[in-house]
């Protein structure tokens, strides 16, 4: 497929229903050629991919034919090929997809954005995308018209590549990806321990029947058996022997014959493995206990435990569980079994192996366990988190600030410098730069300054407040001044101070402005993230972006001019920051390219 040419036997059809002509289809990077079998000399079809708009194909199903339809840009036209096998069709389909994608990328940069199809088409470039990822991007574009507009404008318009466009939206993709996990079939909630041994009634023979499903479940519920299986089979015994032994152990448990179990375990160390309590489980339990919420008060439930009181306990298989300290280690309580089973069921099936061969299941399980343990060990976070929780719970909740508020700390390298520019802006905007530069007369020494302040205060303490506080004429002047100021601004500001200027503009202008603002942001984001320019690729990207931004200028000018006279001022106020942002980008671009050109003069073999 990577060879750049595909040769495949196929049937060429004019319509899907037609029987078609048998022949050979040859696809190359720029065109595809079909020659019929019966007339090798004449070429039936010879079409360049340039004229192909897209491709369709049938779903892989027994009742379907393996069809591939290459649709032409001219309406209605298309080339349908039928293949013998779906796999053959797929090879062709993938090839076509790749070629079309490549074509579109080169083509579209030359083309106008309007020519692009209505439906967003995803074109594949340097990155190889799975079908799901494509689907996801399509869906995102469909759902978000804003995004679609941007995509259409910049990706299809050739300003940005597909990869560049999505690179800034990784989060969007990731969030959506996480949602698409499949549901898996879990374990049955019935306990395997309850799989009854069958007795035939005549002999002393007891039959256990084990299915792969049950074996899988045994492995997950009883790590010791799992371990033993890996150790003994097939080096020490056959699988059948293993299970026989296991069943024997089970049988001993079931008959509650702790004494017999102890005796047999002493003779047969392999059997003992099954009979003793599961070390691995115990270890795991200890680990879990360590992770339990430290503030959980276990003692509170102690009173509920009736099991150890006389005449209390759980009936299992008709007999009561007896506590016999002597054979403690061979005892297994129902509670333990139940808990373990519940834990496994809740954990779910972690394995994605076809059940069948016991050995592979066992090994896969072991692998996944190991991985699990590794991750658990590797992150010390768990412990850290636990400690945090202890400290958190120990403190009084309502004294705590809310945890984990998503925030980005404000970080400014040199606040002074930043502030100065802000201040300068503020002053400029207010038009009193002349006053602003005046600094306070600071000739006073500290002592003098404080002294005069103290003097004034103590003077006031004696004389009290001067009366009247405000002279009537001054009060009137202030009041009138403010009233005048109000009446002049009131009608400009509109009724609702919360209403932004945007809301009062005509809808069309508002939308245009917003759209331009968004596209400028998108372009600027890419523009600034390309600096410093270290590769030729970035260089071309920046110049592409610059050209696209240059196109926006006249548009903004157009909006400004088309606005009605009463809104013109406000529109130009709104447009101003956009222009400023663009100007800044251009200034940077020019400065950078100038630097670059002087540098490249010194170093002739620069990458430009």
């Amino acid at each position: 497929m990577s060879s750049g040419q595909v040769v495949m036997r196929a049937r060429y059809k004019k319509t899907a229903k037609a029987p078609g002509i048998q022949g050979v289809l040859i696809m190359t990077e720029d065109k595809f050629v079909f020659t019929r079998d019966d007339n090798m000399s004449s070429v039936e079809v010879d079409v360049g991919f340039r004229s192909i708009k897209g491709h369709k194909f049938t779903k892989e199903a027994p009742q379907n034919k393996a069809l591939l339809n290459l649709t032409q840009e001219v309406k209605g036209g298309g080339y349908i090929f039928e293949f013998d096998k779906f796999s053959e069709r797929d090879i062709c389909r993938d090839f076509v997809g790749k070629v079309l994608g490549k074509l579109q990328a080169t083509q579209s940069s030359a083309q106008d954005a309007n020519v692009a199809s209505e439906k967003p088409t995803i074109t594949v470039h340097d990155e190889q995308l799975s079908a799901e990822e494509m689907e996801l991007r399509m869906k995102l574009l469909r759902d978000n018209s804003e995004l679609q507009k941007l995509h259409k404008q910049f990706v299809i318009g050739g300003v940005l590549t597909e990869a560049e466009f999505w690179a800034t939206r990784k989060k969007l993709l990731a969030v959506n990806a996480s949602r698409t996990s499949k549901q898996r079939v879990g374990f049955k909630s019935a306990m395997i321990a309850d799989v009854r041994p069958l007795t035939d009634g005549r002999t002393n023979k007891v039959t256990f029947s084990l299915t792969p499903e049950i074996i899988h479940q045994i492995f997950t519920e009883k790590p010791a058996v799992h371990q033993a299986f890996l150790n003994f089979v097939p080096s020490k015994m056959t699988e059948k022997d293993f299970w026989t032994k296991y069943c024997r152990a089970e049988y001993l448990h079931r008959t509650k014959n702790a004494v017999a179990a102890a005796a047999e375990a002493a003779e047969d160390e392999e059997l003992a493995v099954f009979l003793k309590q599961d070390d691995i489980l115990a270890r795991e339990a200890r680990r879990k206990i360590r992770r339990v919420d430290p503030t959980l008060d276990m003692e509170a439930d102690e009173g509920d435990d009736y099991i150890h009181l006389p005449d209390h306990g759980i009936l299992r298989d008709g007999s009561k569980e007896i506590t016999d300290t002597e054979y403690e280690q061979y005892r297994r309580t129902l509670a333990q079994d139940l808990n373990r089973h519940a834990a496994v069921v809740l954990e779910g099936r972690t394995l994605d192996v076809e059940l069948g061969d016991t050995r592979t299941v066992a090994e896969a399980l072991a692998k996944s366990k190991k991985a699990e343990l590794a991750t658990e060990k590797s992150d010390d976070k768990a412990n850290q988190e636990r400690l945090e929780r202890v400290s958190r719970m120990a403190e009084i909740e309502d004294l705590q600030a809310p945890h984990n508020l998503p925030f980005a700390p404000l970080f400014i390298k040199d606040p002074r410098e930043y502030f100065d520019s802000q201040q300068a802006n503020a002053l400029k905007a207010l038009g009193d730069a002349g006053v602003g530069t005046k600094t306070i007369n600071c000739s006073l020494s500290t002592g003098q300054a404080y002294g005069s302040l103290r003097e004034l205060i103590s003077e006031m303490k004696v004389t009290g407040l001067s009366d009247p506080v405000v002279k009537p004429e001054v009060a009137l002047k202030v009041l009138n001044g403010l009233t005048q100021h109000l009446s002049s601004t009131k009608y400009n500001l509109g009724k609702n101070p919360q209403e932004s200027i945007l809301d009062r503009l005509p809808n069309r202008t508002k939308e245009e402005l917003l759209h331009h603002w968004i596209s400028i942001q998108e372009l600027l984001k890419h523009f600034w993230s390309s600096y410093p320019i270290t590769t030729a690729y970035l260089y071309t990207k920046v110049s592409r972006l610059k050209d696209a931004m240059a196109e926006i200028y006249p548009n903004l000018q157009g909006i400004k001019e088309s606005a009605q006279s009463d809104f013109r001022h406000q529109v130009s106020l709104l447009v101003q920051p956009m222009l400023q942002a663009l100007d800044a980008a251009f200034t940077h671009y020019d400065a950078d390219s100038q630097k670059r050109s002087t540098k490249s003069g010194e170093r002739s073999n620069g990458f430009i």
Binding site: L465, D467, V470, P472, A475, L476, T483, K495
Partner: protein, 453 residues
């Protein structure tokens, strides 16, 4: 006897009702200026401050510049109130332009207040005199106790453990409108009486004080003096003792009545006697909407209509008995149930379920444990059921109306019908027999109209 409307009208309505001369005289007192200012709607307060140092009239037009479209009604209310209280003086010039300026006396007093602060006509007892004064808690419980006694005496003279010094004629004045007596029967609470009992203390106090003031002329006391003394009293510090000798003759007689109401506590020293204002007195100038005087609630209502009131007060028990069946009474707990029967007897007495009545009483007096929960303080099923029981009784609506017949011609009849309809007063018509019924409030209009015909 005219129907007494139980509206917790504030003091200032009475002040506003005074004749201009007396009103202006009241403004000689800085404290009255302050109290009046505090009683104003927020917007009006701002207008006063804004005009405080302006000594020429400001046109109404320029004041309206400040008002946003949706604030106009509030602006109107504020201006009306200011004019009513003669804080703003309205004047119209030749061009028929209205302008306002502050009442100079009022203005001067406030200006002085801002710079020099307010000075009471009397100083509290200096700390050098060693007399044990009641603590604020003692004082508060004294005030409430006194007030409760008074209320008990008011609603059922027999119930009160100790009676106040009010003359029986005075008590009768207070009772007017709250109780009614039919023949030889024991007096029964009227609808307004019920509402009165369910109001909060401040509102009740206001009602009583209002009655007290309106009755003052019969006792040959000038209402303006009374008002000014009461307002002044509200600026005294709670819990401080003031010498009675600083009061004039009239005031001394008033202070005794006020002690009965719990507004002040009288304390007899070795040589001199003192009066100590309680919270009830200092809250007098507080506008009604302020909830600062709200007491702690005590009632818990359960969804099964049972009611637990954590209270030792006899009065509370009496109030609850108005609409609930009291089952047990423990030292600090009253247990009852809201039943259909108990509510019917309440409705019978004219008490309503809605505002100022049972439901709002239960809500306002909800025990803090209940009130602090997010859920409604009174279970919704209970409030709904109370309303349902009430509407059960109100199947017939009564509209006062007039009946017309004997029209000379069909034309006259139809014109009359149309006229009534235009004025929104047509209730019923019978064109066959030429009869119609109109609402009572357009009767005058109708008569004029028909006479013209």
């Amino acid at each position: 006897m005219p129907q007494v409307k139980i509206i917790a009208k504030n003091f200032m309505d009475m002040v506003a009702a005074l004749p201009a001369l007396k009103l202006d005289k009241l403004y000689d007192n800085t404290f009255i200026c302050e109290a009046v200012l505090r009683s104003l709607p927020p917007l009006a307060k701002k207008y006063v401050l804004q005009m405080l140092y302006v000594d020429v009239p400001v046109t109404a037009k320029s004041m309206e510049e400040w008002v946003l479209a949706d604030g106009f009604s509030k602006h109107r209310v504020a201006i009306d109130r200011l004019i009513q209280l003669r804080v703003f003086l309205e004047s119209t010039d030749r061009k028929k332009e209205t302008s306002y300026r502050l009442n100079p006396k009022f203005q001067g007093n406030l200006q002085k207040y801002l710079v020099h602060g307010g000075v009471l006509p009397r100083d509290p007892m200096s700390s050098s005199i060693t007399v044990r004064l009641p603590t604020l808690e003692e004082l508060e419980s004294y005030a409430l106790n006194q007030w409760e006694c008074f209320l008990l005496q008011l609603i059922s003279s027999g119930q009160a453990e100790k009676t106040t010094n009010f003359s029986s004629s005075m008590i009768e004045v207070f009772q007017r409108g709250l109780l009614s007596q039919r023949g030889k029967e024991a007096p029964r609470l009227t609808e307004s009486g019920f509402q009165f009992l369910l109001m909060d203390t401040n509102a009740q106090l206001w009602y009583i004080i209002r009655e007290y003031i309106s009755n003052s002329e019969e006792r040959r006391v000038d209402p303006a003096d009374l008002i000014s003394f009461l307002l002044e009293l509200s600026f005294h510090a709670t819990g401080q003792a003031y010498n009675i000798t600083t009061l004039n003759e009239v005031q001394r007689s008033i202070i005794k009545d006020l002690a009965d109401l719990g507004l002040v506590k009288l304390q007899q020293g070795r040589k001199e006697s003192w009066f100590i204002p309680t919270k009830l007195a200092t809250n007098l100038s507080v506008s009604l909407s302020d909830s600062s005087s709200r007491k702690q609630g005590f009632v818990v209502v359960e969804t099964n209509f049972r009611l637990y009131a954590y209270s030792t007060s006899k009065l509370h028990c009496e109030i609850l008995r108005l609409f609930a069946r009291i089952e047990y009474q423990l030292p600090n707990l009253i247990v009852g149930a809201i039943t259909k029967e108990s509510l019917y007897s309440a409705f019978d007495n004219g008490i309503t379920s809605e505002q100022a009545s049972i439901i709002s009483f239960l809500q306002q007096n909800a025990h803090p444990r209940v009130a602090d929960r997010a859920a409604p303080a009174v279970p919704e099923n209970v409030t709904d059921q109370i309303r349902l029981w009430e509407t059960d009784l109100n199947r017939v609506e009564i509209t006062p109306s007039h009946f017309y017949d004997d029209f000379p011609s069909k034309d006259v009849f139809e014109a009359a019908c149309d006229y009534a309809r235009e004025n929104g007063g047509l209730l019923w018509e019978d064109s066959k027999r030429m009869r119609l019924v109109v609402k009572a409030d357009i009767h005058g209009l109708m008569r004029e109209y028909l006479q013209k015909k």
